[in-house]
Symmetry: C2
Subunit: 478 residues, 2 copies
């Protein structure tokens, strides 16, 4: 095996790798906003070129329909050596990013990446790259892309001879609305894969590598309550008609009971309880809820959520409901005495195995309709979502991944979960029966989805080394 | 008396009067938005020039402080004939207007006034002027300004010899935040007045003139709930921390009980109940709640509000609470899985005699503080307000006003109330002991505070004639 020389090459060419990542981060591929359609396509093409340079056969495939076009999917393949008998790996990532607002809170423009000292303090010198998408997910995908490039440059063989399919989509941050149809349309081809590898999660902390065996599902909705057909003067009409803001607020407030449990009928019926062993193991990880809250400017008493569970449990294995946005009436400076025509909220549910996103969404919509205020009407929009996913700790690909991470870091990795959602994992389980190994390199203070998002180069380096070594470990499974 | 010749002059010069009104409406005097500071001052100067041309002594007086400047107040005086022994009238109006948003719903630009056919159908031919401020309050103030101009042009004497003070302010639509201090600073001078006349209310309907003897008070607040110091990923944090939107919604929803009564402790303690006689008289006015709802696109079942009261009673003599605006988190297109740092609502209370706006506001703020979610903090802003005001039906100025309106219209006027708020009326009662006669010429379908606001020329004409005749009636009280 030439793994050592690949690792040496990775170390020697890191400046080039970071420069390439910065080029990618410069492209504002905000998938949720139609104004960024062109740069989003450009980010796909950039990624396709990268894979081509590593010897992959690459296609950039359109999604959606002519009336409602989606963002393209980059699909690349490496045939594997003739004698390769290890698993056929499906690597998944996404090239799209979250919107960058509120812009005024960025210390440098979100799409002009800069290198700054790392956040780890004097004990952990190093650097971080700051930009929207730095860690979620362009930076993490780059750890894989650059490992593949190093293998190809070193051996002339794509993916070091491992049979591999690479799927990089452009709608992860906007609900992956076209992915399900894409997977169905390419089912025969994707079903040849044996396991999914995704780098879009986090470590347990600096120097504490981890593999994630569970992520939450999601269903994301937008609900608008319509009332009068014109804005009204609150003097002439206040107290006479249903005010859509008053009414929306009253309905939504009933989503939670005093124990902060979600009140939708049957919401918890399909929740798979986590065993005492796993919950006990989580307690040994040294996660400090109060310290995490301090990091976001909150005191210890802000450690609230569903009654009867710790903060870690609430994130990793309990469903929840959040209003992610709300707007209605006058929101400018000063006072305007208006009763508006409508009010809107973006309401999402984080789900766990074995809750079904479609059922939860329909249950929510039914619940809203049962509470329609007098004379009003609902407009209910589905913004997509995905199943929760968990993977067995002792499966061969998981063992290979743990070994790769152990060798790359020199530390025993931990098995953790994440409260985030990677809908593709649920989708690939549902459609193709594939389990997913989440090897992630993010840190909790990476400001994912927030201003000043960053990825530390120490984490980047560990990621690239892990993916390089994983090639050898996968071959060893044959 | 030369009243007849004044009325003839009014009829002969109407085209000039409307042209002047349109000039005034062109000036976007949006007082609540600092971006419109210059045009707001320009609208004040325009009005001052108008009064000077009618022989008044006019001052344009600054308000606020150097650090926080307000919009100017136009103060004009007519000394009255030497032998004048009628009441010294204080005419009040405002030259500022509401913001024009949502702009896309205007059929013509809000500050490019146009003349269109009136809304009364084939039975009532005529025209309307369409613009922001057409009726509220530039159009109504113009009925007074033009009556004064006609008297001056006809007799050479300002205000036809009536002793009069005119106060036109520029902050009525933004809470009249500097008016109280202004009234206190000019108390000696204003205290010489005997009664207030205001044209900023409505008629009972087309061809149904009315005088208003009661308006509601107001207290307007803006409340922001602050949580984490950075936007959070709802996957990593959903269920772990208080989400400021969830929490704000839960707190605000408790403002109403199932009978749609406001739950603030003691909120109804100082509400002056209206006598059975007055409530019975209101029932004879032929007000049709279902028809009014139909006019704003709502079915009859939308006739909801405080239990136990009719729609008219809820508007005219019952207090209420409305959320006039709400905003938090992601409000753009599509999905963003964020837990935001804060959420804000504009919350106002319409009040009736003898509720005190300051007490209600403080009671609301105390109520919010008692419900502060764990680890969060409130930012509470007072956007001003005013006392409710009611006036005796048999006072001499009210009798004079009823007579003027009767003569101008040829119809017996009705005595009604309004759910709107004219804080100055409460202020002048509180500070100077002055009662107010509200002679208004608006119609319910004038789209006050909404896109396509208009004032019908038939209403304008009745207003100018009434103010012209009122001069004679006031002299007759001497």
């Amino acid at each position: 095996m030439s793994t050592d020389s690949v690792l040496e090459r990775l170390a020697a060419t890191e400046a080039d790798q970071v420069r390439r990542l910065i080029d990618w981060l410069r492209i504002p591929s905000i998938s949720t906003d139609p104004a960024y359609r062109d740069p989003t396509a450009q980010a796909a093409a950039w990624c396709a070129d990268h894979l081509r340079a590593s010897g992959f056969g690459v296609e950039v495939l359109p999604t959606g329909s002519p009336e409602s076009p989606g963002h393209p999917i980059v699909l690349a393949t490496s045939p594997g050596d003739e004698g390769y008998s290890g698993p056929h790996v499906l690597f998944y990532g996404h090239y799209d990013v979250q919107p960058a607002d509120p812009l005024e809170l960025w210390e440098s423009p979100p799409f002009e990446p800069v290198i700054r000292p790392a956040d780890g303090g004097a004990d952990r010198p190093g650097e971080r790259v700051v930009a929207r998408g730095a860690v979620d997910d362009k930076g993490q995908v780059s750890t894989f892309l650059e490992a593949m490039r190093a293998w190809h440059d070193e051996t002339g063989v794509p993916a070091g001879g491992v049979r591999m399919t690479v799927l990089i989509e452009g709608e992860e941050e906007s609900g992956s609305v076209n992915l399900e149809r894409f997977v169905r349309e390419h089912k025969a081809r994707l079903a040849e894969c044996d396991v999914v590898v995704i780098s879009d999660t986090g470590m347990l902390g600096r120097g504490r590598p981890a593999i994630t065996n569970g992520i939450r599902g999601l269903t994301y909705t937008e609900v608008t309550l319509h009332g009068p057909d014109q804005d009204l003067h609150s003097g002439m009409w206040g107290g006479k008609v249903p005010n859509p803001i008053n009414e929306l607020v009253k309905v939504l407030a009933d989503l939670w009971d005093p124990d902060r449990r979600v009140t939708l009928p049957g919401f918890y019926d399909r929740v798979r309880e986590v065993g005492d062993d796993e919950r006990a193991m989580w307690k040994t990880l040294g996660l400090d809820a109060a310290k995490a809250l301090e990091g976001i400017g909150l005191p210890p008493e802000a450690d609230v959520g569903e009654a009867g569970f710790t903060a870690t449990e609430r994130e990793w294995c309990r469903p929840t409901c959040d209003i992610n946005g709300i707007v209605g009436g006058y929101t400018g400076e000063g006072a305007k005495t208006v009763i508006p025509t409508h009010a809107t909220a973006k309401v999402s549910f984080r789900l766990v195995a074995d809750q079904d996103p479609d059922s939860v969404r329909e249950s929510f919509f039914t619940w809203l309709r049962e509470r329609t205020p007098p004379g009003c009407r609902w407009e209910l929009i589905d913004h997509g979502g995905g199943l929760a996913a968990t993977t067995g700790a002792d499966s061969p690909p998981m063992t290979a991944a743990m070994a790769a991470l152990r060798r790359a870091s020199g530390v025993e990795p931990k098995l953790i979960r994440s409260g985030g959602s990677i809908p593709v994992a649920g989708l690939l389980k549902g459609e193709l029966g594939l389990d997913t190994v989440f090897i992630g390199f993010g840190l909790e203070d990476d400001r994912v989805h927030s201003p000043n998002e960053k990825f530390e180069l120490e984490c980047y380096r560990l990621g690239a080394r892990t993916h390089a070594i994983l090639i050898e470990e996968l071959r060893g499974l044959g």
